[in-house]
Amino acid sequence: MSIDPSSLRHVARLARLSVAEDDAPRLAGELARVLDLAERLAAAPLTGVEPMAHPQAHTLFWREDAVTEGDRADALLALAPDARAGLYLVPKVLE
């Protein structure tokens, strides 16, 4: 298969990654080769096979809907590149 520049840009946009113009052909080629690998599954006898999402068949256990951690807001906000007054700061979204 091949991946055209607009498909590559679309996927990169979804992943919030930038692709430099001069790097696009190389990256598109590599992506196509990895996806070609996946194409080998097309010939496998998969019709009617139940998809397996996880090694554990059972459903996850439920816990009580209760707070289990104390207030660690300061410790967590301290990790942020930019925070003030208990808030994460990002560039303005609305003018």
Partner: protein, 480 residues
């Protein structure tokens, strides 16, 4: 010769040495072998402080086999107040405010962490060349890779710097570097070791485990880190076996399935010959070799390289430059902040896997890629279930080759992925497996992989121990 955990534990109790002395030696050793680049962080002060506490703890009745023994954590486990990078620029300055469960359990046992081991970025790689902090070198031949992604963990043990290391395995990341470095690595059953605080790559595959010189040493480490943890919803609530007590069980009559698919065209003759030699040794100990088929083994690589990137693309969406991690300079808009922070913070292989995963999950392609890979995953798991009706364990080479040269496969992602041909199926099925040193091919270590049914870690360690009682491959050390 490097001492075993049991020997070190005895020496500590007999006051022939102290944890402080062992730790100082390990720190010195780490400095002497800095050229291996096995460590991202070496934490002298914290290590020596922990060693002093361990020396005091040794006098207590609840001291464990690991009390006072220096080791290293793979830099994927969050460590409170010690930076945890996952070998990524994205987390270059990330200092977690908490300990991972594995970290907590080893700290409670007073094992002494001397730092954080190098690895492939976000555990994505089979050579440890994808680290933001540079490649790790193989102690057996510094022009070669140590394997990946737990390359630093394996190299640090192989070089005799530490007795054991924590590690993780999503597609072979414990077993393949253990094989390349001539040490023992155990990947437990999915859910046996808590993933809490272990930075996520592919959540339905990720597994914490251990690398050490011998199966006996691995048993001591697994005994400490395995167990239920309510903070990980996939952690299994089931008592763990006594891994150490069962080491001495004779293996007479044990049926070992030799999977012919694991000796396929890509397997070096020298590797195949050594693995057969190890199997003959197990036969001498009373095991019965049975030829078996894993009919869908060839689907494992294609299924894995859809499922793992798909899960990675979802897991790594959390790195947005807002709450923690790398943020680009002077972002103009929120979208610019996300895109530039991620593009600057992630290395090439991580970006490649995010893009593949995003593609496989995107509208119009989901059925053709992700769903198909999940169906193949079922066939692969069913193959194992059927085989385990006939045999107790499945054997093959851990990796098709010995350690390759640095740079040999970096320009071709698919050639690199082929290094995982015999390991990824185990993760897809969630089974436990071990890599055991099985001699050398042209001077480089070869690994024997044994795979067991879910929760039969004790059987893997038992067979490994029995093999290691009869052979000395695991004692061989690279000349410094």
């Amino acid at each position: 010769m490097s001492a075993s955990i049991a020997q070190l534990a005895r020496a500590l109790r007999a006051h022939e040495t102290s944890s402080v002395e062992l730790t100082q030696r390990a720190l010195q050793h780490a400095r002497d072998q800095a050229s291996l680049n096995a460590f991202i962080t070496v934490n002298d002060d914290a290590a020596l402080q922990a060693a002093h506490a361990a020396d005091a703890a040794l006098a207590q009745p609840d001291a464990s086999a690991l009390t006072g023994i220096p080791f290293v954590h793979k830099d994927i486990f969050c460590t409170n107040a010690t930076r945890t990078t996952c070998a990524s620029r994205m987390l270059e300055n990330f200092v977690p405010p908490y300990d991972a469960t594995v970290v907590e359990r080893l700290a409670v046992a007073h094992a002494v962490s001397i730092g954080k081991a190098n690895m492939d970025e976000f555990a994505m790689g089979s050579s440890n060349e994808n680290s933001f902090f540079g490649a790790v070198r193989n102690p057996w031949d510094p022009t070669r890779v140590p394997g990946g992604s737990s390359g630093g963990s394996a190299a640090a043990v192989a070089a005799g710097i530490v007795a054991f290391a924590t590690a993780t395995d999503t597609g072979g990341s414990i077993r393949q570097p253990a094989a390349f470095c001539g040490v023992t690595g155990i990947k437990p059953t999915y859910g046996r070791v808590s993933r809490w605080g272990m930075i996520a790559y592919a959540s339905s595959l990720d597994c914490g485990g251990a690398i050490a010189r011998s199966a006996e040493d691995c048993a001591h480490v697994l005994a400490q880190i395995a167990g239920h943890d309510a903070r990980d919803a996939t952690s299994v609530d089931r008592p763990r076996d006594d891994y150490v007590a069962s080491l001495s069980t004779p293996i007479v009559g044990l049926r070992i399935g030799v999977a012919r698919e694991y000796f396929g065209a890509g397997v070096d003759a020298g590797v195949g010959a050594q693995v057969h030699a190890a199997l003959r040794q197990l036969e001498k100990l009373g095991a019965v070799l049975v030829d078996i088929e894993l009919a869908h083994a060839d689907l494992a690589i294609p299924a894995y390289y859809v499922i793992a990137p798909a899960e990675a693309s979802s897991n790594l969406s959390r790195y947005d430059g807002v709450r923690y991690g790398h943020r680009c300079a002077d972002p103009k808009t929120l979208e610019d902040l996300y895109t530039r922070s991620r593009s600057e913070g992630f290395g090439a292989e991580v970006q490649r896997r995010i893009l593949v995963g995003t593609y496989a999950l995107s509208a119009g392609y989901f059925d053709a890629y992700y769903l198909r890979a999940q169906r193949a995953r079922r066939l692969i798991a069913d193959d194992f279930s059927a085989a385990f009706n006939q045999v107790d364990l499945i054997a093959g080479p851990t990796a098709p080759t010995t350690a390759f040269k640095l740079g040999e496969k970096t320009s071709d992602p698919l050639a690199m992925y082929a290094a995982d041909v015999n390991t990824v199926a185990v993760n897809l099925a969630g089974l436990p497996a071990i890599s055991l040193p099985s001699g050398f091919s042209e001077g480089l270590p070869v690994g024997l992989q044994l795979i067991a049914p879910a929760f039969a870690e004790a059987r893997l360690l038992n067979v490994g121990y029995q093999l290691q009682q009869a052979t000395d491959w695991h004692f061989r050390e690279p000349s410094a």
